[in-house]
Each structure stands twice: as C-alpha cells, then as structure tokens.
C-alpha cells in the first residue's frame, strides 16, 4: 500500500469506516502503544539507574564484622572502685561507640592513632589522662593498659590538672579523648560527648569453630546471637555452624534470667556456674558451649570467640566527604582536592581548546571554499571525534609524556584532553556559524564593515549559543574522562600545585577506589558527585543558552 493510499483511506475514514480503514486504525493504535511502551521502559530504566546510583551514593548499608557484640556501655564499672568511668571525646569526632580493643589502642599505640580506623575521619587522636584522683585513676589506667605498655601510654597522653580541666581541654582539642568519673558526666558542654564502649564478646568452646565437611562457623549476625541467647537454638547447624548441640553457659542464675525470656520455653541446654575458674573451664571443656564474656578475658585466658556482624547504616555523601581532603589512599577524609583538581582540569582544557577550536571553525566556515580539501579536513575532525579516548591516552603518553618529556602530570593530561575535545568544539562551532543567516553578513558588509569586523561583531555573537553548547559538551566529556588520564595524569590525590604535578580527578578516583577495593561506599559517593556534576553542567547549558539568546534578541 502506498502512502497516497493511506492518505486517501484516512480521508475517507471521516466519511465512512471501511474494513480497510479500521484495520489501519488498529495498526496505528498498536504502533502508538509499542512506541509508548518503549518510551516508558527507557524512562523507567534511566530513572532506576540514576536512582540506584543516588541511593547507593547517599546511604551506606553494611554488615561489619566485630570481635564484640553490639551491646554498648556508657559507664564502665571498675575493679576496685565503686565509681564508674565514662570516656569522653571532642564532639568533632564522628564516633558514638568503639570496641574495647580500639579504645586501648587509642591510648597505647607506638604511633599516634588516627580516628580514621574507626570512622574514616582523618583526625589524629589526642589522648588525655588525669592521674591525681588516687585509686580511681589507677583503676582506669589498669583498664586501658594491656600488659606492659606503661611507657607508650605515658608518652602518648597529656596530663590534665583536674576533671574540669580534662573536660575543658577535650572540648578545645579536635580529636581529643579523655575519661571522667560517671558522677561528672552530667551536663557536659556541647563540645564534649560520651564515647560508649563495646566489650562483650561471644565466647565459645573451640569445638564450635572446628571444620566439618569443609565448612566452619566464621561469623554470626546479631539477630542470630540474640536468638542463641533466648534459648531457641538447639543445634549450631540452625545458625550456619556445624552439627553440634548448643550449651549456654552463665555466670550465675541472675545473669541467666536476665537474658533468657521466661515466657518462652528454653530449648537449649543451660549450664550455670558460680566462679570465674568454672566459667572458663566449662566453656572450654563443654562441646558446643557458648557464653557472653568480656573481650579482655579472651586475651588473658586464650579463649575462642565468634565475630559478630553489626548492621551499620548512615549517610555516605556528607558535607564532610565533599569538604575534607583525602588520606590513606582515599579510605579516609573526603574528596575536596579531587573535586578541585577536576575543576582545574576543566578550566585549563577550556582555556587551551576554545580559542583554537573557534578559530578553526571560523576558518572552515568563513575563509575557505567548500572544496575537496575541506571535505577531507571535515572528515578528519569527524573521525577524531569518534576515536576512543584510550587511543588519545596512548598518544598523550607517547608524545607529551615521553617525547616532549613533560612527564606524567597535569600539563600532559590537559594537552591530551584538549586534543580530544577539539573536534567536538570545532564541529559544533562550525554548525553554529553556518546557521547564521547569510543576510547578517551581507547587511554588515553593506554597511561598510570589513570581513573581520563582520565576524567578530555580527557572526560570532549570533552563533554564541551554539558555540557555548559545544564548549559545555566538551566539559561533559572532560568530567567523565578516565582512560586518557590513567596514562597522563598519574594517581596522586593531593591538590595540583604545578604543571608537572601528578594528580587525580573524580572519575580517576572512582576507578582507583573500585579497582583497589578500598571502599565501595566511597566509590558510590564519588559516583554520585560525578552524576550531580554532570547534571549541573547540563542544566547550566540550557540556562546559559537561554540567557545568551535573550541578550542577543535585545
């Protein structure tokens, strides 16, 4: 059926509906339906991708394995004193609680400990102590010290003169850590907060960790641990362990009753002991035994334990992440320098490429006849625009880095990217210049303007929205570029300081974080920043083009 027939039928449709025209109507509806379906499908996929990246970028959601359970203690009882101790930190530290082994390291390490190990915040720990409170101070010191490291402890801590002085100085010093008696912990200033301690471990008999049929118990989720201590689990098999009956060991009956829910029947075997010695020996000697005990006893008694998974969730892409400088291969701190490096790269690429690109376009449109040479030239730029960026990377590495001797660094990468985006800028500027009506030029020439004056005063302003679009496209390509930069920019994550300094930009940082498995949360956060950056670039295109159009028409 020819197009004319269709038109005829459609016209006749209004007059009478023949079977043929109904058939065509149906076809139209089906075609429209299919098109609508695919459109909706595409939109749904796009929304899903961006949504997924954003959700993953903004929130983290992990199960982290710890030697201790999730139970936190704000106040810690001491051995020989009635008064409990409370650990306090400066409010700038983004931690709420810490495993006891970590707390001891904060005081005792030969090297100054960094909060980064606990909350990815690049901040040195500054421990404070007060030794003037007699047996209380000694007791706290015994709690913090592990064995014979008194010397390191003395070297690390700064002494304070009173509890008030301690609170004051912890509030003044970023990254500070101190301790006070529980009675002083009321009404702390805003600059100080309490650091809770997690020190209860899941101690088990070594038999639980045996390998059976090539499998073993590696770790346990907090939910399973709770289930275990409610007495509902009879065999380790039920929670992913080996075939072994569970025996719950308790220090005394009060402990047992506080943990086990009395309304529900207890299915697991229970053992109640009354002395410390019995407690440890019955854990070790009873097959399948499990108990809750202090982490410190694991070390001192040489006991076995099961790591517990804690579900952790929170904000991933925070202001801290954007404004802090990176440290420890990007595991700590944020991406501030990397964002800045990205901006610098864009800025210098545009500075280098725009004048050259626009001038080339002017030459192509205004000064040459559209001959054979021009066709070859045009084909050349088009081919260059389509070449994969890794090829430019290779060229940049051989030419700028090695032959020109510029080395891996900022200048090599900027020049390589300039070459890469030039075709884009030339092509779009050319199209923009071509779309300026010939009458503009003729009018200007008729008024006595020279060719150069015509180009600068008449043609360029009229073509500026198109040229700007090309530049912004080039920015988009620069932001997303990775392959070129691997070979020419290096991988240092400090701020660019000169033309030869090796650096990282966002896309490269994302690649490094991912390929070194440093942190998937941070990879997604970096990805989210990139998406947002591209979004802003695209929005600003429309905004700028609109603004320029308005100016041009006035």
């Amino acid at each position: 059926m020819t197009g004319i027939d269709v038109l005829k039928n459609r016209r006749s449709n209004t007059v009478q509906s023949s079977p043929q025209s109904r058939k065509i109507n149906r076809q139209e509806i089906i075609a429209k339906g299919i098109i609508c379906f695919f459109t909706a499908f595409t939109i749904a996929i796009l929304v899903w991708i961006v949504g997924y990246l954003m959700v993953k970028g903004f929130r983290y959601n992990n199960d982290v394995s710890y030697d201790v359970t999730t139970q936190i203690e704000r106040e810690i009882p001491l051995d020989n004193t009635d008064e409990d101790v409370v650990f306090i930190i400066n409010s700038k530290v983004r931690s709420e609680d810490i495993p006891v082994a970590g707390l001891r390291k904060l005081y005792n390490k030969a090297r100054k400990e960094n909060w980064g190990f606990y909350n990815q915040q690049n901040l040195k720990v500054v421990p404070f102590a007060y030794e003037g409170a007699g047996s209380f101070s000694d007791d706290v010191m015994n709690f913090i010290l592990t064995g014979s490291d008194l010397e390191t402890y003395r070297k690390n801590v700064s002494q304070t003169s009173s509890w008030e002085d301690m609170i004051h100085r912890v509030g003044q010093t970023p990254g500070a850590l101190g301790f006070i008696p529980a009675s002083k912990a009321e009404g702390l200033p805003k600059s100080v907060k309490v650091l809770s301690v997690r020190r209860i471990s899941l101690i088990v008999s070594p038999s639980v960790l045996r390998i059976q049929d090539g499998r073993m118990m590696r770790e346990i989720s907090q939910a399973d641990a709770d289930k275990l201590f409610s007495g509902k689990v009879v065999n380790w098999k039920e929670i992913g362990g080996i075939d072994l009956p569970v025996t719950l060991v308790f220090w005394d009956s009060k402990d047992a009753s506080s943990i086990i829910n009395r309304d529900e029947p207890v299915l697991a075997k229970i053992q109640i002991v009354h002395s410390e010695e019995d407690f440890y020996s019955s854990i070790v000697n009873t097959n399948g035994a499990v108990a809750l005990g202090h982490y410190s006893s694991i070390e001192s008694e040489g006991l076995s334990f099961i790591p517990v998974l804690r579900h952790e969730t929170g904000w991933n892409l925070t202001w801290h992440f954007i404004f802090e400088s990176p440290a420890r291969s990007g595991q700590w701190g944020g991406v501030s320098y990397i964002i800045l490096n990205t901006f610098f790269l864009i800025l210098f690429t545009i500075i280098f490429s725009t004048p050259v690109g626009i001038m080339a376009a002017i030459y192509l449109v205004e000064y040459t006849n559209q001959g054979r040479l021009m066709r070859i030239l045009r084909m050349g730029t088009e081919t260059l625009a389509g070449i994969p960026s890794i090829v430019f990377g290779l060229f940049g590495f051989i030419f700028f880095v090695q032959i020109c001797g510029l080395g891996i660094g900022f200048i090599s990468s900027t020049l390589t990217i300039t070459l890469m985006v030039l075709p884009t800028i030339i092509r779009s500027s050319e199209e923009a210049l071509k779309s300026v009506p010939q009458s503009f030029r003729e009018g200007s020439l008729a008024l006595g303007a020279s060719k150069l004056q015509t180009i600068i005063k008449v043609v360029l302003p009229a073509a500026s929205p198109g040229i700007l679009t090309g530049i912004i496209l080039a920015i988009g390509r620069t932001v997303g570029e990775t392959a070129v930069l691997i070979y020419t920019l290096g991988s240092n994550y400090d701020l660019v300081t000169g033309p030869s300094s090796s650096a990282r930009v966002l896309s490269l940082h994302l690649y490094m974080l991912f390929s070194e498995a440093l942190s998937f949360d941070r990879t997604f956060a970096t990805g989210a920043i990139l998406v947002i950056l591209v979004l802003i670039t695209n929005l600003s295109t429309t905004w700028i083009v609109k603004g320029v159009n308005k100016n041009a028409s006035v």
């Binding site: 992990n62 199960d63 394995s65 390490k109 030969a110 090297r111 190990f117 915040q121 690049n122 901040l123 040195k124 720990v125 500054v126 010093t173 970023p174 990254g175 500070a176 390998i211 049929d213 090539g214 499998r215 073993m216 590696r218 404004f323 802090e324 400088s325 440290a327 420890r328 291969s329 701190g333 944020g334 501030s336 320098y337 964002i339 800045l340 901006f343 800025l347 891996i408 500026s464 290096g490 991988s491 240092n492 400090d494 701020l495 300081t497 300094s501 090796s502 991912f514 390929s515 070194e516 498995a517 440093l518 998937f520 700028i544 320029v548």
Partner: protein, 286 residues
Amino acid sequence: MKKIITVLMVLLAASAFVFANGQQDAAGSSSVELSFAGNYAFGGSTTVEPIVRAAAESFQEMYPLVKISYDAPGSSAGVKGALAGTYSIGAASRSLKSSEIEAGAIPYAVAKDGVAVVLNKGTVPMDNMALKDVIAIYAGEITNWKALGGPDAEIVVYNRDEASGTRSCFKDATVKTQKKSFTENAAIVTSNGDMVSKVGSTPYAIGYCGFGYIGKDAGTKAVTVNKIPPTPANVLNASYAVARELILITKGDLVAGSLEEAFINYIMSEEGQEIVAEEKFIPINS
C-alpha cells in the same frame, strides 16, 4: 559572557579557599624538620601500595617540604622503574630475580605477607581446601566444584597478571611445587582489589589475594588451606605455606643522608612497622 567568566573565577577562588581549609590536623604535630625537600616518585607493587602510601603520609608530616607520589603498575614495573630511575624507590611483592640483582637492584624487606585463597561467599560452601585441590584447580585439572563435594557448577578461576608479585608467590607455593603450570582458562585481573571485587561478585569463583585484602569485599571469604587459617601468626611460625616478603628496591646502595635512606629507616622503625600492622601485613621484625 564576561560576567559569567567573572562569576566562575570568583567561585573557583572561593572554593579553593574553602576546600583547602578542609585539611584537619590535630594540635601538637611533634617535630617538624625541614632538612628534606622536593618531589619524589615511588612506585611498584599494588600490594605494597597501602604501606608506602600510609608511611609516606606520616613521613610528609615530619618533613613538610617533601612530596612523595606512588604509582602502582605492579611489582615487575616497580623493579624496572627503580632500575631505570623513574622511581627513586621501587616496591615489589616478590623476591628479586638474579638478572635484576645483577643490574644493581638492592632489596630491603619491610614486611611479610601471606597469600590467602578466597572464594565467592554466597555460592561456594567450602571453608577449607586441601592444598592439592587448590593446585588441581589452578592447573586446570578440576573444573567443577562437584569434584570437591560442592555444588554442580563450573569453577570460575581468577588469576593475576604476569607482572604481579602475588602471582609469582602463589605460583611458587602451589602449581610449581608439582611442576605444573597455571591453567589457560583463568580470567586475569590486575590488582588485589580487582581480585576480591571480582571473586566477591562472580558466583562459583576462586581467587587469591594478600592477607591485607581479606574481608575488604563482603562477598568473599578466605578459606583455611590444609585446615590452617590464614593468619599472621601462622605465617610467622611457617605453618601457612603461601607467604612472601614485601620489599623496597633502590638502584645501588643507599646514599647516606638521602631521603631514600631516611624513608626506608622510617618504615623499619617501630612506628613504620606499626603502619605495616595497621595495613594488615606482618611486621618484619616480629
């Protein structure tokens, strides 16, 4: 147009100011010395990278005028780079070949590391593997998990690239002991991180990585080999077979008073070895 450019420039300057303040540093950075200065390029193994980067960060705190960069193209490239002068210190996770020693490379062992066998956690049920099974898998003799009592599924084998020190160490301790060679049917990955993320996301996958990367990907698990768990203690008492030394390399002897000497001394110091432990490697002196 002019307006836009001005606005952009002002924004850029402002952001530079704000971002530069992002650097947080606690009070009391102890002794600041200015005796070393300048830019230094180190590079080599991806395994040693975390140690050198962390040590370089502390080192730069002591000597604020020093800038150290680290590139990680692999152990072999690290040795080559040190010999060619591209890197003033190279790093490798394997021992030097005799040809490299003849060319003037001098090794400094800074840490020990074990190589752990990792499996995909969700799909492979094993928690222990016999060394002979690992060898059989990597030699291409066992290709299905069923042969080892697992599910009926093809084993996806991941191997490292030829430049990798982890690969040569793993090869020496496994397939080479039975005079076999690696299977050709393995997918090649280029770094430890790449390895754990690929093994963690591919069902029925097996791979190997340095101890420092155990647990970095939630989808992987490190298995015991011949029932011996991959822990630092077992490497030190030599019961865990797959282990190697991590070395830094210079061309020719260290020049007294040079930055390279100070840096290597720093890594060997108590503080430096603490960094080694922080990055989950095994201190050389213990």
